[in-house]
Amino acid sequence: MMPLLTTKDLSRSFGGLRAVDGVDFALMPGEIRAVIGPNGAGKTTFVSLVSGRIQPSSGTIIFDGADITSLPAYARVRLGIAYTFQITSVFANLSAYDNVALPVQRTLTDSRSKGAVHTGVMAALERTGLADWAQMPAGQLSYGHQRLLEVAMGLALKPRLLILDEPTQGLADSEIDNFIELVREIADSATVLLIEHNMPVVMQLADRITVFNAGRILAEGTPEQIRANAAVQDAYLGTTHG
């Protein structure tokens, strides 16, 4: 099977800092992949390169067999790469409905979905449990609901690859359980790339885990393999083995 996403020798420097340093990465269709690593390991920079928010210093990115390295971010979204923000950035002054209507009308314009805007919006809001708050300004939703709205916007883009950047940050435990369910559902129709610090969430959701450290991939494997990997424990968990 051909990978959905491949990066070859992907690098990005900020001044002298090599935030992402020669990363070779492959993601199979349908999998849930977690990306973990200590702060500053280059995880967010890596997914920003994939989504096109920043341009790489060198290397190539291949999505579904096509080289997308030089495509602007909006064109990658139209190919089916959706990015949900680490810091919640819903349109605070627009209603939840309008927030979701923007991605829905985009997929309609691109003929990647059919039907009326209203149907698509309500479907995405119902799937994330936000239908009752449709007309509320997004900025007045609770923090947990704003995170869900981010996911609803990502879903409404009909992604083939959904990138979730620390989606459970700031959520209550009860909300996290619902969230895990939601990501499992999403994975039925999309490939999920998940940056996450919450290890129980990672262990429950991920098919495979990629560990970043200092801009490079330190290890990759199933949750069990990663749990047992001594190098990962050193870098990420900070434990020493004497």
Binding site: Y74, V77, F91, A92, T107, H118
Partner: protein, 320 residues
């Protein structure tokens, strides 16, 4: 923008148009003429509002789009002897073309730089008008001959110097532009424009080419403002360089802020309010600008979102 029934906003807008129509038959001569002028300038404000209110791009150079229409139409009549409808089309075309060129250059900037760049281009435009005095009349301006201001529609010809014809022509232009703005604002495109105003980076990450959307908005805005300028030349018969000065870039900003940015009827209310405050105040004192200034300060204090913007915020959430 809201997912509410469209009946209310359309009823309100058609009601406003009907009211303006009825006013034509009851207003005394002086106010009749003033209102015709206000409607034409409100079109200018509506064009400005589309860009400033909805896309959040503050231009300080919209006088150049107004005067592109003014001179485009005026010069076509005076020098080329074109008919009124051809001259109006020429005015629109000049505005659209100028807006395209300016947008391609100015949209490389944003925020304060966008204000400065648009203002600079408008100054260039103003100086070019003065420089080409042989054709434009320089700072004296030009009068469009009365005999040329006749609109021929099929077999009927309308004399645009007749007050009623002038009023109705201004109302027709105003109504068309008002309904176009309402349709834009309620469309998916309007939603994208507001999204760009609120968070451009996020809008890109939803798959929108924000540059193209902004480019289209500048062109629509510039063309509407040019329509206002062209109508002004043809209805009121004066083509002057003062309309290209920086004052006429700031006036639409004031009108829109007064009436309520990002409201469809705000530009009309703002223009109307400003004209009548000046009109009434100058009847009492030569220091009327002082009264205008105080009125503006009071408005900013108590209606920070403009007259209609504050009404929408406090009472009528459905206002478009």
């Amino acid at each position: 923008m809201k997912d509410a029934s469209p009946a209310k906003p359309y009823a309100l807008h058609l009601g406003v148009i009907a009211l303006l129509f009825a006013l034509s038959f009851v207003l005394p001569e002086y106010h009749h003429g003033l209102l015709a002028r206000i409607m034409v300038l409100a079109v200018f404000a509506m064009g400005y509002n589309l860009l400033f209110g909805y896309v959040g791009l503050l231009s300080l150079g919209h006088a150049m789009f107004f005067s592109a229409g003014l001179y485009g139409a005026g010069l076509a009549v005076i020098h080329l002897g074109w008919s009124v409808s051809a001259a109006f089309a020429a005015g629109l075309a000049c505005g659209a073309l100028l807006a395209l060129v300016i947008a391609l250059l100015a949209l490389r900037t944003s925020g304060v730089a966008f204000m400065i760049v648009t203002m600079m281009f408008a100054q260039v435009f103003y100086l070019v008008i003065l420089y080409l005095a042989a054709w434009t009349g320089g700072d004296q301006g030009m009068v469009v001959p009365q005999s040329m201001r006749v609109l021929v529609l099929g077999s009927t010809s309308l004399d645009l110097t007749n007050p009623t014809v002038r009023y109705m022509s201004a109302l027709a232009l105003f109504s068309i532009v008002l309904l176009i703005s309402l349709a834009i604002v309620r469309s998916g495109y309007g939603r994208v424009l507001v999204a760009i105003r609120e968070n451009e980076e996020r809008t890109k990450m939803l798959g929108y080419d924000t540059f193209s959307n902004k480019l289209a908005a500048v062109i629509v805005s510039g063309t509407i403002c040019a329509g206002s300028g062209a109508a002004y030349a043809l209805l009121f018969g004066y083509v002057g360089s003062s309309f290209a000065s920086v004052q006429y870039s700031i006036l639409p900003l004031l009108w829109v802020l007064l009436g309520g940015a990002a409201t469809t009827l705000g530009p009309l209310i703002g223009t109307l309010f400003m004209y009548y405050v000046i009109d009434v105040a100058s009847g009492y004192t030569s220091a009327y600008l002082l009264i205008v200034g105080i009125a503006l300060i009071l408005l900013v204090l108590f209606f920070p979102k403009g007259i209609l913007g504050s009404i929408r915020q406090r009472w009528l959430g459905w206002l478009p």
